[in-house]
């Protein structure tokens, strides 16, 4: 329990991850699914950023000749977050474009309803 309070950032990230995950899995509405996807991905980035930061240290840019490793944080988690954001932006864009196409055809955002319409269509 104590750990949970100290690592409140990570705990929040995990809760957000579960919220996003279940939104993406369970919602029928495509837009809400995409929102869930973004919450889920952001939660992971929050987790990474939270893990990557050590209180009291600074960005790894040498100023005033301070070269001690103890003074700086590792920049790689931040780099990973950036890479991850690029990936999640592109999958969100792809999902949104697919949603638009489905909406134009079937005039609904409800995935189950679309499936029923497709069954009626036959083919």
């Amino acid at each position: 329990m104590g750990n949970l309070l100290v690592n409140y950032g990570e705990a929040a990230a995990m809760i957000l991850f579960v919220i996003g995950f279940s939104n993406l899995l369970l919602h029928k509405n495509l837009i809400k699914k995409i929102i869930g996807l973004n919450i889920m991905d952001s939660a992971i980035y929050l987790f990474l950023a939270e893990k990557g930061y050590i209180a009291g240290r600074t960005v790894p840019i040498v100023v005033d000749g301070v070269q001690s490793v103890e003074a700086y944080i590792n920049p790689i988690p931040a780099g990973l977050v950036l890479t991850g954001i690029v990936v999640s932006v592109s999958v969100s864009a792809l999902m949104l474009s697919l949603t638009i196409r489905l909406y134009r055809r079937y005039h609904t955002l409800d995935l189950d309803e679309i499936s029923t319409l497709l069954k009626k269509e036959g083919v």
């Binding site: 991905d41 988690p77 990973l80 999902m95 995935l111 319409l117």
Partner: protein
């Protein structure tokens, strides 16, 4: 450093660049660029494979000039080079075999777009096979997902778009879990390169420190990757995606995309967690159970299915179940069997999809069983090819499916705890396979009276038949000449450790 050692890097870059130039080329040129690229990459992989078999040890290739704990790396061993070669062969044959359908099903100006997707897919598969860095692996997993989604929906109908959306949703759930698992693992070990992570994981496992987070990581990564490769309870998207997309896409998706993830999982098991640590976590039992369930329920769904393409798709669910059963058995022999089945299933399933396309074309484009009666007489080559594929899936000697079943059974005997369930389900699944495949074969060879050979007279016919023959030869090669391949897989797994 030998020139040959650059080949993995060349392969990835070559496929990526041919993808980049494709959109500005006319469709016919894009097609030839793609075919040339796949052939060249296949040849490079073959040379690399021979070189590695010669030296007998794997090597690490530095990307950029930063040494180990910081830089990005590629690693090549016998298994990696072999898989790359195999992926190229399957991809080339699938594209050749599905070419005539692609021309009719995909609008003219979109055909060059198709080749961007195929090239990028190949580059991401190669990167998944060769990379030694887990975050690079994650990025290429996502590229793989996006291109696979494009392959599904390039033939634009309501069905395919819906299938693409469902595929994306399941896939993204899987990538989310994978990414979270990789992040926690990075947090635990402090490294991104597989070899460095392995050392740290071994230390953690020995001291028992962070036991729970390590288990959670293993679970997240295994489940994430098995969702993406359509293991049984997560397969809802699969029948539509394979059943309605254009036939090359279906062949590539079923035989390459899902296999790329499985290969990555096996690589992570050996190169990051270590076989023993993975085996000691109870997640192997979960994978084993899901695999067994997939073998039965996939086959049952296939029996109830009334659409030949969807039936073949459901059979994929069962076959993925076989592979995960092997991973779940947790012995070296079972892992070899799984890897052999990855190859055997890839060779057989793409053959089935491509030959089913010929059969449905000969039946007025209908995929329903009632209309397929006698299709084997109307399109003789496709009928023969389908029969070969079906016999291989059922597991008749001479064909590749028999060898994988034999290897699975041998591996099961070594693992006493899982012997009984594995053998029983293997038996049931074989019978179920036989029911639906033999039902189809009998159906296509039931005479209807007016056997007019309505073979399409287009020029694409020779190419189609050549692709079918290529698949049949590949199947027989895996079936008859299996021992060297099994030895090679064993050697490759040895290099993993």
């Amino acid at each position: 450093m030998d020139l040959v050692q650059n080949f993995p890097f060349f392969s990835i870059m070559l496929s990526m660049f041919s993808g980049i130039v494709s959109p500005v080329l006319p469709p016919a040129a894009a097609k030839w660029v793609n075919r040339a690229a796949v052939t060249v990459i296949g040849a490079l992989s073959l040379v690399l494979l021979l070189y590695l078999l010669g030296t007998g040890e794997s090597y690490v290739f530095m990307m950029g000039h930063f040494p180990a704990p910081w830089g990005n790396e590629i690693r090549a061993g016998v298994l990696e080079a072999g898989m790359a070669l195999f992926f190229c062969i399957i991809m080339l044959l699938s594209l050749l075999g599905g070419n005539h359908k692609l021309l009719t099903e995909v609008a003219g100006e979109k055909q060059s777009l198709y080749y961007i997707l195929v090239n990028l897919l190949l580059s991401s598969l190669l990167a998944l096979v060769y990379t030694n860095d887990i975050f690079t692996a994650y990025v290429f997993v996502e590229i793989n997902t996006i291109t696979a989604c494009g392959l599904i929906m390039i033939r634009e109908t309501g069905r395919t778009i819906e299938a693409a959306v469902r595929y994306m949703i399941m896939s993204l759930l899987g990538s989310g879990m994978l990414l979270l698992g990789l992040c926690i693992l990075y947090d635990l070990t402090g490294h991104l390169l597989m070899s460095n992570m392995r050392e740290q994981v071994a230390i953690l496992a020995q001291s028992g420190e962070y036991h729970m987070p390590l288990l959670v990581t293993i679970a997240l990564i295994s489940v994430g990757l098995s969702i993406k490769s359509a293991l049984f309870p997560f397969h809802a998207w699969l029948p539509d995606a394979y059943g309605y997309s254009t036939v090359s896409s279906a062949a590539i998706l079923s035989s390459l995309v899902s296999k790329g993830y499985i290969f990555l999982l096996i690589k992570l098991i050996y190169r990051v967690f270590g076989f023993q640590v993975f085996h000691d976590s109870k997640i192997v039992n979960v994978l084993f159970l899901f695999g067994l369930m997939g073998m039965i329920f996939g086959s049952l769904s296939a029996i109830w299915e009334n659409d030949i393409r969807r039936m073949i798709a459901f059979s994929s669910v069962a076959q993925i179940g076989y592979i995960f059963m092997g991973i779940g058995m947790g012995t070296q022999a079972a892992m070899t069997a799984s890897l052999f089945h990855v190859m055997s299933h890839a060779a057989t399933k793409s053959l089935l999809f491509i030959s089913a396309a010929g059969l449905t074309d000969a039946s007025g484009g209908s995929k329903k069983f009632a209309d397929l009666t006698g299709a084997g007489y109307r399109d003789v080559e496709a009928g023969i090819a389908f029969t070969v594929g079906a016999l291989s899936m059922v597991g008749l000697p001479l064909f590749s499916g028999f060898i994988s079943k034999l290897l699975f059974a041998q591996a099961a005997v070594q693992n006493t705890g899982k012997l009984l369930p594995a053998l029983i389900v293997l038996g049931i699944s074989t019978v179920l396979n036989a029911i639906y495949f033999m039902k189809t074969v009998i159906r296509i060879y039931t005479p209807v009276g007016d056997e007019v050979r309505s073979r399409p007279a287009s020029g694409g016919r020779a190419l189609y038949v050549a692709a079918l023959m290529g698949f049949i030869v590949l199947n027989l090669l895996l079936g008859v000449n299996s021992q060297p391949i099994v030895d090679m897989i064993g050697q490759g797994l040895g290099m993993f450790a």
